[in-house]
Amino acid sequence: MTLLLALLLFAAPGAACWILVRALDPVGRLVVAAAGSVVLVAGTAQAMLMLGAWSPGTGLVAVLGLSAALAALGYAHRRRNPAEEPAEAAAGPAPANVTRADIPVRRREDDDDEWLYRD
C-alpha cells in the first residue's frame, strides 16, 4: 500500500513531464520524466524546508499543482502544433555507421535571423 502511494506520488509529476516532452524518443522521454519527477518532489520539499514552511499536506498540493501546470503546458503546445507527431521527430541516436559526413548541411539562407546581422 505504501509502495503504491509512493509510486503515485512520483507518477503525477512524471506523467506531467512525459506529456511535456512529447517529441522525444521513448527512452529519452522516460528518463526525462523520471528526472523531472524526482526534481519536482525534492525541490518542493527543499523549498518548504528552506522557507521555514514545512507542511507535507501543502507540499503534496504543490506537487500536484505544479504537475497539472506542466501537463497543461504540454497540452497547450500540442493544440497549437498538432502537426508535430512524436513518431516523426522521435529518434534515438543515429545508427553507428552514420558519421557527421552524412548529416545534411544547412545553408545560411535558412536562418530566420540572418538578415539582422548582415553587414
Binding site: 526525462v32 525541490g43 558519421t99 552524412d102 548529416i103
Partner: protein
C-alpha cells in the same frame, strides 16, 4: 582489394526508420538455447538464495561475509555470472533476458544481507535516519548539531516522501535502499550508453560492470547516493541532447601541416595516433526540437539546484564534468559550467555559513592537501589493523587499481582503432579534480572511485569489445580458416572476447562479495543495538543523554564515532563522550565511572558487540576485551545494568550526580547570517542566474533548426554579446559579495 563493412542489425538501437535498404539478416538463436539460459539463470538464483537460511552470522571473522557464505551460494553467483556472459555470446541481444539477469544481479550482490540480517546493516545508515527523523519532527534543521545539516536537501526530500505516503517506520526503507538505488542508477546510465559508438555487447557488459564494480557502499539511503543519481541524470541529458554543434556542422576544412602521405617516421606516427582525425566515440546526437532543448535546459538547471542543496561534493563534480565536456567540445552549453559554479559558490556562501564560519583555517588547510588526502585514502586507512581486515583493505585498493589500469587499456585499444572516446575520457578524469579540494580526509578516495565508475566500466567493456559496430561474419567460401582462426569467424567469432570477459566478470563478482561485505563482522547492526538507544531515551525522558563509549584510540585524532546506530532518532538529545580504553587491563573501569559522573543524571555507558569487534579488528584490542569489560561493569557496586544481552549493553551509575543537567538544544535552522553587502547579493544573484540562463537559451536558438547552421564562433559571440556584457558586471558583483561575506562573517 577493397572491403566494405556494413553494420549488422542492432535491434537494441531500434531499427533505423525509413532507411530504405533492409539490414542484413542475423542468424537467430534456437529456442532450446534460450530456454537453457533461462533455466541456468533460475538455477543460479535458487543456488544463491536458498542456502542463505543456514548461514551462521556469528562465525564471521576478519575476512567478512565471504568466509561464511555457503559454497552453493558462491556457486550460484558463478552460474549467474556465466549465464549472463553466455547471453552476451549469442548472435543478437535478447534484451528481456539480459535485463532480468541484471535485475537478479543487483538483488544478489546488493541485497544479499536482506536474507541474512534482521535490520538494516551499517551504522552510518542509521544516522541518515536520525537526520530524516529530525526534519520530520522539528520541521527544520539545526546547523549546530552536525555539518551534514548544512546541505539538508536530501533529508527534506526523504522526510517529505515518507510523511506523504504515511511510512512511519524508516527501517525497511534503509534495508531496501542499496538494491533500489542501484536499479535507479541504471536508467540514466542506459541513456549515457546509448549515445556511444559501441556494440550491444560492450554496452550491456558496461551496465553489468557498473553494478558489480560498485562495491564502495555509497549507495545506501544517503545524500551522496541521491546526489549521484542526479549527477547521472545531469550527464545523461548533457551527452544526449546538448552535444557540441561541431559534430553536426560541416565547414570547409583547413589543412594543417603536410599531406598525410608525406608523413613518416616514429614521431609522425605518434602524432597521428594522438591527434590525427578520428571517429568520435559517440554517435551523432539525436535530433531534438528547440522547445525540447529549452525544457531540458530548465531541467538541467533544476537538477543542479536540487543537487547543490542535497550534497556538498556532487555539485562540484557536476560543474567539473560539464566544464570538461565543454573544453573537449562535447557539450554545446558553454555557459552551463559558469551557471553551475555560481550556484555552488552561492550555496556555500549563503546557506552553509554555520559550517564554514568557525572553520576558516581548517578549510584552507584542506585546500591543496593533495598528498595527505592521497595517503589517507590509501595507506592511511590501514594502520593498527588486524591481519585479515588488512587483507580486505589491500584487496579494495587492488580492485580500484585494476579498474583504472584496465580502463586506460580500453581507452588505448579504442584509440588504436581510430576511435576518440572523449566523453568517457572526460568522465574518467573529472573525479580526480576533487582530490585536493575537499577536506574529506580518507574518504575522498572512495568518492573518486565511485564517480569514476560510469566511464571506467564503459572503457573496460571496450577493452573486451572495442568494435564500433557489429560487423557481419565474413563469408568467403574459398577461405577455410583452420585451428584457432576458426574461432574468429562465423557466428562464434565473439566467443574468445566473451570468454576473456567472463574470467574478469567472475573475478569482479567474487571481489565484490569479498570487499563489499568484508567488514560485516562489525558493519552488521543487530536488533539490540537499536534497542540500546531506545532504552536510554526511555530511561531518561528529558534533557540530553550523555552517552559514554569506549574507543581504543583517541577519537579526536582518528575522527572516530561509535560503530552503533547512534542518534538514529531524537538527534539533539544525545551527546557523545569517548573513553580511551586501558589496553592492559579491561577490568579497569575507573575512567568510565569518572566520565559517567561528569555527565550528570543522564549519563549512560553503551557498548555493542559490533562496536567491540570494530575496536578489536581496527585498533588491536584484545579479542576478549568486550566480555571482560562487561563483566567488570556488571559486578561493580557503583554501576547499574540498564539493559544487557549478548549483543548490546547499557549501564549507568547507581547514584548519578544531580548536575550538570544539559537542556535539549532547540532547532537553530540553517544558521544564515548577514553582512553589509548580503542584501545586494541576494538581488544580484537571481538576476545573474536569469541572465546566464537567457544567454544559454539564446545560444540554443542560434543553433536550432535543422542541424548544421554554419555560424562561425565569431558570429555566435557577436550575437551573444549583449547578454555577455550584462552578465559580466553582475558576476563580478556576486563574486565580490561572496568574498565580502567570507571576510566579514566571523
Amino acid at each position: 582489394m577493397s572491403v566494405t563493412l556494413r553494420q549488422a542489425r542492432q535491434p537494441e538501437e531500434g531499427a533505423p526508420r525509413g532507411a530504405g535498404a533492409a539490414p542484413p539478416a542475423v542468424p537467430g538463436t534456437g529456442r532450446p538455447v534460450l530456454l537453457g539460459l533461462t533455466a541456468a539463470m533460475l538455477i543460479g538464483t535458487a543456488l544463491f538464495w536458498l542456502p542463505l537460511g543456514g548461514v551462521d552470522m556469528d562465525a564471521i571473522g576478519g575476512h567478512g561475509l565471504i568466509a561464511v557464505l555457503p559454497v552453493a551460494t558462491l556457486l550460484g553467483a558463478a552460474v549467474l555470472v556465466l549465464t549472463f556472459m553466455a547471453t552476451l555470446a549469442l548472435p543478437r541481444p535478447h534484451r528481456l533476458l539480459l535485463s532480468v539477469q541484471i535485475g537478479i544481479l543487483i538483488m544478489s550482490l546488493h541485497g544479499v544481507t536482506l536474507a541474512l540480517e534482521p535490520v538494516a546493516r551499517f551504522s552510518t545508515v542509521w544516522q541518515t535516519a536520525g537526520f530524516i527523523e529530525y526534519v520530520e519532527r522539528t520541521h527544520t534543521v539545526s546547523w549546530f548539531l552536525d555539518a551534514r545539516f548544512s546541505t539538508p536537501g536530501f533529508f527534506a526530500f526523504a522526510a517529505f516522501v515518507l510523511k506523504a505516503v504515511g511510512q512511519h517506520d524508516i527501517e525497511p526503507v534503509l534495508r531496501w535502499a542499496p538494491p533500489v538505488t542501484n536499479l535507479m542508477y541504471l536508467l540514466p546510465y542506459i541513456l549515457i550508453l546509448r549515445v556511444l559508438r559501441a556494440t550491444w555487447r560492450a554496452k550491456w557488459f558496461a551496465a553489468w560492470l557498473f553494478i558489480a564494480a560498485n562495491w564502495v557502499g555509497q549507495d545506501y539511503l544517503s545524500p551522496q547516493a541521491f546526489a549521484y543519481l542526479l549527477y547521472l541524470y545531469f550527464l545523461a541529458i548533457l551527452v544526449n541532447w546538448f552535444r557540441h554543434h561541431d559534430e553536426t556542422t560541416r565547414r570547409a576544412g583547413r589543412r594543417r601541416g603536410r599531406e598525410p602521405a608525406e608523413r613518416s617516421g616514429v614521431l609522425w606516427r605518434l602524432y597521428d595516433w594522438l591527434f590525427a582525425a578520428k571517429d568520435p566515440g559517440e554517435l551523432p546526437a539525436p535530433k531534438v526540437s528547440l522547445r525540447d532543448q529549452r525544457i531540458l535546459l530548465f531541467l538541467l538547471f533544476a537538477l543542479l539546484l536540487v543537487g547543490t542543496a542535497a550534497h556538498q561534493l556532487t555539485p562540484f563534480l557536476m560543474t567539473a564534468a560539464c566544464g570538461g565536456l565543454v573544453l573537449m567540445r562535447r557539450c554545446s552549453l558553454r555557459g552551463m559550467p559558469i551557471i553551475a559554479g555560481v550556484v555552488y559558490a552561492a550555496w556555500v556562501s549563503f546557506m552553509t555559513v554555520g559550517y564554514w564560519a568557525g572553520r576558516k583555517n581548517e578549510i584552507f588547510g584542506g585546500l591543496g592537501k593533495i598528498l595527505t588526502n592521497f595517503q589517507q585514502s590509501t595507506g592511511g586507512r590501514i594502520g593498527n589493523v588486524d591481519g585479515d581486515t588488512q587483507q580486505i583493505q589491500y584487496l579494495r585498493i587492488l580492485i580500484a587499481a585494476v579498474i583504472v589500469v584496465l580502463a586506460v587499456a580500453g581507452l588505448l585499444r579504442r584509440r588504436a582503432r581510430g576511435i576518440d572516446d572523449r566523453v568517457a575520457l572526460v568522465l574518467m578524469l573529472v573525479p580526480f579534480a576533487s582530490l585536493g579540494l575537499q577536506n574529506y580526509g580518507g574518504e575522498i578516495g572512495l568518492r573518486i572511485y565511485f564517480f569514476m565508475l560510469p566511464a571506467a566500466c564503459l572503457l573496460i567493456a571496450y577493452l573486451f569489445f572495442p568494435a564500433p559496430f557489429d560487423a557481419p561474419a565474413v563469408r568467403a567460401p574459398r577461405v577455410r580458416p583452420s585451428g584457432l582462426a576458426r574461432l574468429r569467424t562465423g557466428t562464434r567469432r565473439h566467443w574468445p572476447a566473451v570468454a576473456a570477459a567472463s574470467v574478469f566478470a567472475l573475478l569482479m563478482a567474487g571481489g565484490f562479495l569479498t570487499v563489499r561485505y568484508g567488514n560485516e563482522k562489525y558493519e552488521q547492526v543487530r536488533r539490540s543495538d537499536v534497542k540500546a538507544f531506545d532504552v536510554m531515551l526511555d530511561n531518561y525522558k528529558t534533557g540530553v543523554v550523555g552517552v559514554v563509549w569506549l574507543s581504543a584510540e583517541d577519537p579526536n585524532l582518528a575522527g572516530g564515532t561509535p560503530v552503533m546506530p547512534w542518534s538514529y532518532r531524537e538527534w539533539e538529545r544525545f551527546n557523545y563522550t569517548a573513553v580511551i580504553a586501558d589496553r592492559n587491563n579491561p577490568g579497569n573501569i575507573a575512567q568510565i565511572v569518572q566520565t559517567l559522573k561528569e555527565q550528570g543524571p543522564g549519563g549512560f555507558f553503551v557498548t555493542t558487540r559490533s562496536h567491540e569487534d570494530f575496536q578489536v579488528l581496527n585498533s588491536g584490542l584484545a579479542a576478549d576485551y568486550g566480555v571482560r569489560l562487561r563483566r567488570a561493569l556488571a559486578s561493580s557496586p557503583e554501576i547499574a545494568t540498564v539493559f544487557a544481552d549478548r549483543d548490546a549493553a547499557v549501564y549507568r551509575l547507581k547514584a548519578p550526580p544531580a548536575d550538570p543537567v544539559l537542556p535539549t538544544p532547540k532547532p537553530t535552522g540553517l544558521g544564515l547570517r548577514s553582512s553589509p553587502w548580503t542584501p545586494a547579493g541576494l538581488i544580484y544573484l537571481p538576476v545573474l542566474l536569469m541572465v546566464l540562463l537567457a544567454r544559454e537559451l539564446r545560444r540554443l536558438r542560434l543553433f536550432a533548426g535543422s542541424p548544421g547552421t554554419a555560424l562561425s564562433p565569431a558570429d555566435v559571440r557577436r550575437r551573444l554579446l549583449p547578454l555577455t556584457v550584462l552578465a559580466f558586471p553582475l558576476l563580478i558583483a556576486v563574486v565580490a559579495v561572496v568574498i565580502e561575506r567570507f571576510v566579514f562573517i566571523k
